[in-house]
């Protein structure tokens, strides 16, 4: 049987880009840029 089953839809369809509502995600305050800087 030929099939394509989506496990994750495109972000544009789920609204992750359109609304960019990081508030509702668990780790919105942990972007890559918060790495500890020892300089």
């Amino acid at each position: 049987m030929e099939s394509i089953v989506f496990l994750l839809l495109p972000a544009i369809l789920t609204g992750d880009i359109a609304t960019d509502d990081k508030c509702d995600t668990s780790d919105f305050i942990i972007p890559a840029c918060t790495d500890v800087d020892e300089s």
Binding site: I4, V5, L9, P10, D27
Partner: protein, 437 residues
């Protein structure tokens, strides 16, 4: 119409299944049947009927695109649209650099300990309320940082609760976070956090006790590991609505100790009551992993925690990050204790990066430097343009680029600042597949 494979699609096998993921769309699909597999691999200027399967789904997922699509231009358009978006504002606010710890690696420890005053607080509130009143504003996020913000929780609480009510009155969504070392906690502080309407608290451990207590200390606090864990437990009990994020800094030195930390968290019944976020300890020290080494160890950690019943938001890691770095996002500001303003906290060590100041009556006066930050574009870098992971990191931290002495010596070109997902993407997708319910 003629179609071709997207430059951002990745095909891989996992547990006898074939999956396809696209970094540009963020879609993941399980594909079965040899025809689809081979169709995807051979699509190159192929005329297909996209109203029928499998091509309909391949187009929907962004796995194949119209032949003449310039995908990099699409990414650049998405980034520009998001970086100048007026509906969302993000602030990182520091009322003082004062701290009750003196961690050996702290980059703030030599900064002048300015503590802003209540007059400053009223000016700050007036400015923030002005931003909420802007007709485009739909969402405001504030991260209260320091120094140690718990030393000034009364002031934070007053401003935060007033702003929370003000946002509600103006139908603007409001979220606030406090980033603390969590050495200061009591039932009264918990009560204050609740009244302040703080939504999320972030605290960091530098590994298990034996390593953490070498670094996150001061003469007043010769050891903080057990204190922090006790205080996390207290918060869970007294402020159940608070989202607690435990950031675990990972290094070559502390990595072997982390299984002990997992056990300690389990003993305190913190499993899935708090959220875990790993971060690479970053310096030129041999104790730190390179990004690539860290990426491989990060997966080991995720799997170790998952095996003990923890869950993670892998979807967030697999979602395209079109807004890019805060340092070049229009409505993103870091506000210092004297109300001078930066684009990002990473730039706070030097006055030369300040873009303005909040003056009397809460009006921000810009000095003309903001455009320099807003003009930063990760697609200016050839290595980034050639990278299949670009939509997931959008060039990473812009500060490393803008402070680089020359473009030829840019950290990004050397790959130093690449996101770990460059090295563990497939493993992250597999973890998402294995744990998605």
């Amino acid at each position: 119409m003629h179609y071709r494979s997207s430059n951002f699609s990745i095909l891989f096998e996992h547990k006898q299944n074939t999956y396809i993921y696209n970094t540009h769309s963020g879609a993941i699909a399980n594909i079965s049947g040899n025809n689809i597999h081979s169709a995807f691999n051979t699509i190159e200027d192929l005329s297909v009927d996209i109203s029928s399967e499998p091509y309909k789904s391949l187009v929907l997922g962004g796995f194949i695109v119209p032949f003449d699509t310039d995908e990099l231009s699409e990414i650049r358009c998405d980034m520009c649209k998001n970086k100048f978006k007026a509906s969302h504002i993000d602030f990182s606010i520091c009322l003082s650099y004062e701290c009750n710890l003196s961690c050996s690696y702290c980059f703030e420890k030599n900064w002048v300990k300015i503590t802003s005053s209540t007059d400053i607080d009223s000016r700050l509130l007036a400015y923030l309320q002005g931003q909420v009143r802007e007709k485009e504003t739909k969402r405001v996020s504030i991260n209260w940082s320091g120094g140690e913000p718990m030393l000034f929780l009364d002031r934070i609480s007053k401003t935060n609760s007033k702003l929370s009510i003000f946002c509600k009155e103006h139908s603007v969504k409001y979220r606030s976070t406090i980033t603390t070392n969590l050495t200061l906690c009591s039932p009264e502080i918990c009560d204050n956090l609740r009244k302040a309407a703080i939504n999320t608290l972030q605290v960091t451990l530098d590994g298990h006790r034996s390593i953490h207590d070498k670094y996150r200390i001061s003469h007043l606090y010769p050891a903080t590991y057990d204190l922090i864990l006790e205080n996390i437990s207290m918060l869970c009990e007294y402020v159940p609505s608070l989202t607690i994020v435990l950031r675990i800094n990972v290094s070559r030195e502390n990595f072997p100790t982390l299984p002990l930390l997992i056990k300690d968290l389990a003993k305190l019944n913190l499993k899935n009551r708090i959220r875990i976020a790993f971060a690479r300890l970053r310096s030129h020290d041999s104790k730190c992993f390179s990004v690539e080494e860290y990426a491989h160890h990060e997966i080991v950690l995720y799997r170790s925690f998952i095996d003990e019943g923890w869950s993670f938001n892998f979807k967030r890691k697999l979602t395209p990050r079109y807004e890019g770095c805060a340092a070049y996002t229009k409505r993103s500001y870091a506000i210092c204790p004297d109300l001078s303003v930066l684009k990002c906290w990473e730039l706070a060590s030097s006055n030369k990066h300040k873009i303005g100041r909040i003056e009397e009556k809460g009006k921000m006066i810009l000095n003309g430097k903001e455009s320099t930050a807003l003009a930063l574009d990760p697609l200016d870098n050839q290595d980034c343009r050639d990278c299949i992971h670009l939509p997931l990191c959008m060039g990473g931290c812009a500060v490393d680029r803008s402070t680089s002495t020359s473009s030829d010596n840019c950290d990004m070109r050397l790959g130093i600042n690449c996101n770990p997902i460059k090295y563990n993407l497939i493993d992250i997708i597999k973890a998402y597949i294995d744990t998605d319910k």
